[in-house]
Amino acid sequence: MEAAFLLLSHPRGEGRTPQLLPLGSWDWGPRPTDQRRASEQALMTGSIPGFIDVVMNFNSPVLLEDNLIGQAKAAGKRVIFYGDDTWIKLFPKHFVEYDGTTSFFVPDFKEVDDNVTRHLDTVLKREDWDILILHYLGLDHIGHLTGPHSSLIGPKLKEMDYILKKIHISLLSKEKEASLPHLLVLCGDHGMSEAGGHGASSVEEVSTPLLLISSAFHRKMGNLQPPKHVQQTDLAATLAVGLGLPIPKNSVGSILYPVVEKRTMREQLRFLHLNSVQLSRLLQENVPMYEKDPGFQQFKVSEKLHGNWIKLYLEGNNSEVLLNLGKKVLKQYLDALKTLSMSLSKQVAQYDMYSMMVGAIIVLEITILLLLSTPKALCQNAAFEIPLSSSSFSLLFYLMVLILSAVHVIICTSAERTCFLCSISWLMAVGVMMLISALLCVIVALLTKTFENVRPSAQNLAASSSGWSELDLLILFGTLGHVLSLGASSFIEEEHQTWYFLINTLCLALGHEVFRNHFLGKDLDHNLAVEQNIKKNAKNVLQYKNDYVDVPETSKIYKASSSMELLPKVYEKWLQLASPWFILICCRLLRTLNQTGVQWAHRLDFGHWLTSSDHKIELSVLTCLSLIMIFVLVQRRCSSVSKVAMALGLLGVFCYRAAIGNVLLPWQRDRKSISKGIIEARFVYVFVLGILFTGIKDLLKSQIIFADVSIKSLGLWDIYNGLVLLAALLLRPHNLPVLVFSLLIQAVMTKFIWKPLKHDAAQVTIMHYWFGQAFFYFQGNSNNIATLDISAGFVGLESFIEVPALFLTVFATYIGPILWAIHLLSFLSSENNRSSAISHASFCYALICSIPVSAYIILVTSLRYHLFIWSVFSPKLLYEGVHLFITATICVFFIVMDQTNLIKP
């Protein structure tokens, strides 16, 4: 909720009484309007920002579209701006005077406003400006930090009140000598959700107040009318008319009628005519069948009526007839404007169907390829061949390339709209076509091969399918259910519920397995022997299962030989039995920490309680405890050097949090100096890099010198620990317990579940993936841009530097999935008795991530006219895209690790 004061010298007003025109709240419509660029763009151009504008917000490029500020500059108006420097990036040469404040350092909410206010006194005395824009960011920052119920909001609003009063009084005094009245526009560019964020489409986020204050408006006696809803895009048109500027070309807004209500009929009609001419031109440009549009037809009718009215008016007819006709024309115009505006807003979303289809086809083909090679890839030697060379010389391939190229040429020559694939160079396009046809040929080849193989062994497949354990079934149906749930917008909004539900069920299933393992060892033995017999018959299907079948024997061996000598066996047994329940309780606690999603996001959660200013001591204690716990959990696997580095790094994290004022140091209770904590953060970065460097050094050593596997796993654990330290630095202050619980659950699962129960690599991978997803939401993320914590990108940086900020933000957002994936790698590499486990894991990880994404891409393509496409589906697509990118990186890392394994012997 930023307050933007737009002060304009209103050029055509005669009224003298200062007036307030409460236009009430305005609607954004269901648009993703999180970021500032998009909002300013909408304010000044009157067009609806597309979703991509939000993504581009990070480095706001110059706004080239026709806009109000540009028009004002062209008309020789002098514009002054103070506030958020996004404006200056958008309009680099438009302001005669400006002072920008960086808006990305969210924790600061005093300085940003003082930077604006300090200019106020001088600038209000001067006469050399026409438009003054003040953008106050403090309220927005408070909202992001502490939510709408914060105690900081009251004083901030009072401060804003005071500033408004000051401006108003000074304008009134100025008006005495000037001939034209001033207009004071007070508006917020977005609202605030119950969590303090914005960007979704709830009522609280999309409606904000808009106040127009000017002596040109006439006071209405009696009770105030209830405020009306107007669209945000209407403001640009209204201001343009008011300032006597042309309406921005792409504006879809219609003029706010109450503003011009008191003008003479002729002027009113003129303004409305201007507006509708602009809108109908826009319609002509965008809609091929514009003549059929009801808005356009209404406009034509009203234009004709307007002509009649002018004729009567010029004849000097002043009777009732003229007035009535005028009113009729007015009504006709307003209706036409409304319809035009509506049909234009609908037109804004244009889809480049051709490129979308091509992308979807490639994604789909790759997923099918992965799915088809599953049985091969998961067998013992973990190798599957892609018959690339044979299929790329087949007739089918050339035929496909030819057909697709022909289609490409036809589409590109006939396309009316711009199309991404047509705009890239033809060599690239041909490359894309070749990729599609090669993939298709490979799939066909694989399919024929599998069919040849499957025919004889179909019987065996059926027999072995009953040998699936409950866990396998759960994993299968859980994945399917999750993929299906992506089709509904509510399920995307509340995706965390799906994951929490799935991991709870997973824990219960594990509990059941542990229980069975302990109490029914003998029965199980018998059953498994039977199953093994069945499996021996089923020769080449699902061989990978075999390495988990011998559960009881190996677990006994494990028990005898493992490091559990310290504990008596009985204790160990009970600890094992209790571990799933312990994990369940952990998950339940984490759930209360961050309330995410949409429906229940406003429920007070533990995180809010902690971050409120009254509970600083509790937060400090919790932070301290969490850091100690992190150290205790991590140090077991550290080399001694990195142990020291870890301890110092965690100390640095605490100092950083104390420096930015999140927590209190015990010895400085009263002093309240809040800095950006740059030195402390860089201190931590040094240790993070140090630990990562040690890890990489170990890895290189294990690869080049023929050292044993333990060095490699030590290196991996060091990398993991370095990332944990970085996560501890970047997480929001109240989220450190998430990291602690993540480490704790990993430790417990490793010790009591994966090792004793001998799950195979595929199962372990999928469990890791599920937990990673759940922790993504435990962190307080959601599928909504509003929960994105951009302040993480500024830790230890003086100003916004794109690459590190982007990297840090992405890492901070995906801490859960990344940490679990790296843990998977370290865990599997330290389990050296499993051959080809890592390649299994990397295959499974790629598969399990790509199935939802490809299903989602197809769903989104088919749902592109859904009402919530911009507010729900697109942000999710963005999240999925980034997640896929991370997954790809992780898989490459997996493969590199696996390669070193192959080179060595």
């Binding site: 509510s490 909004e493 519920q497 069920t505 029965d523 059953n527 339940r588 949409v598 429906q599």
Partner: protein, 259 residues
């Protein structure tokens, strides 16, 4: 012998289904303002009571192999007490699991507990009736391929289907359709949350979906249960299966996977 067993089992299931359906309609004649959605708590109580009574009576009547040795009264009472304790423990366990699944810990405790009770009536009670308070026997029945008689199979299927039904019943939690049954629920719930509403205007809405969810979970569970009961009886009647009931659940699963 087997045919007779199947017949008895069939009647038990028919009675169960009829009783569940009747509890939805009958009480509205006696109680004013009774409806499944508005007064879901009473309905849950009535339903679980009915099902419990019918289960106990029928299973004791048609029990497959009544213990041959006539045991003493004392022994019987101790068994009864033990069964009650087991039932109560299973309620608590279900309650704990529901809370771990995300139900609020303190508010709406009654709803959660009633849900746990109804779930126990469907799962624990038949086991208690058929197997008695004998953990060893339970473990045997609920391992894969551990069922020895048709009664064990029936237990397996009904219990699993109840649990799976309840699990699937969580499906509507994230949905935010503004259906009449949801808004109707808001009305019913508003007086419960009246105190909160004064403090925070939207407090009533916070809990809006929760009771509804319970009702739907329960509904869903019931429907799945019935479907599975029907399926099961149908399957038991199927002569093909009767002739070779070697490992019925496994073959059933195989059948579904193959088709």
């Amino acid at each position: 012998m087997k045919d007779a067993d199947i017949k008895r089992l069939f009647y038990v299931h028919i009675f169960c289904i009829v009783s569940i359906i009747l509890t939805t309609f009958i009480p509205s004649f006696f109680l004013e303002d009774f409806s499944v959605l508005e007064t879901h708590l009473t309905w849950l109580c009535i339903c679980s009571m009915c099902v419990a009574i019918i289960n106990v009576v029928l299973y004791l009547q048609v029990k497959p192999n009544p213990s041959s040795k006539r045991s003493s009264i004392f022994h019987k009472i101790s068994r009864l007490l033990k069964s009650c304790v087991y039932f109560f423990i299973s309620c608590l366990l279900f309650h704990a699991i529901i809370v771990l699944y995300g139900a609020p810990l303190i508010e709406l405790m009654l709803e959660t507990f009633l849900f746990a009770v109804i779930l126990s009536t469907f799962t624990t009670l038949p086991c208690l009736c058929l197997l008695g308070p004998n953990i060893k026997a339970w473990l045997r029945v609920f391992t894969r391929n551990g069922a020895t008689s048709i009664w064990d199979n029936s237990l397996q299927i009904t219990t699993m289907s109840s649990v799976i039904g309840a699990w699937l019943g969580a499906f509507p939690i994230p949905l935010d359709w503004e259906r009449p049954w949801q808004s109707g629920q808001r009305k019913g719930c508003s007086y419960e949350a009246g105190d909160h509403r004064i403090q925070a205007p939207s407090a009533g809405e916070k809990h809006r979906l929760y009771p509804v969810t319970f009702t739907t979970i329960w509904n869903n569970q019931r429907v799945t249960h019935q479907i599975f009961l029907a399926l099961e009886t149908g399957w038991l009647w199927c002569p093909l299966q009767i002739t070779q009931p070697s490992h019925p659940p496994a073959s059933f699963l195989k059948y579904t996977i193959l088709t």
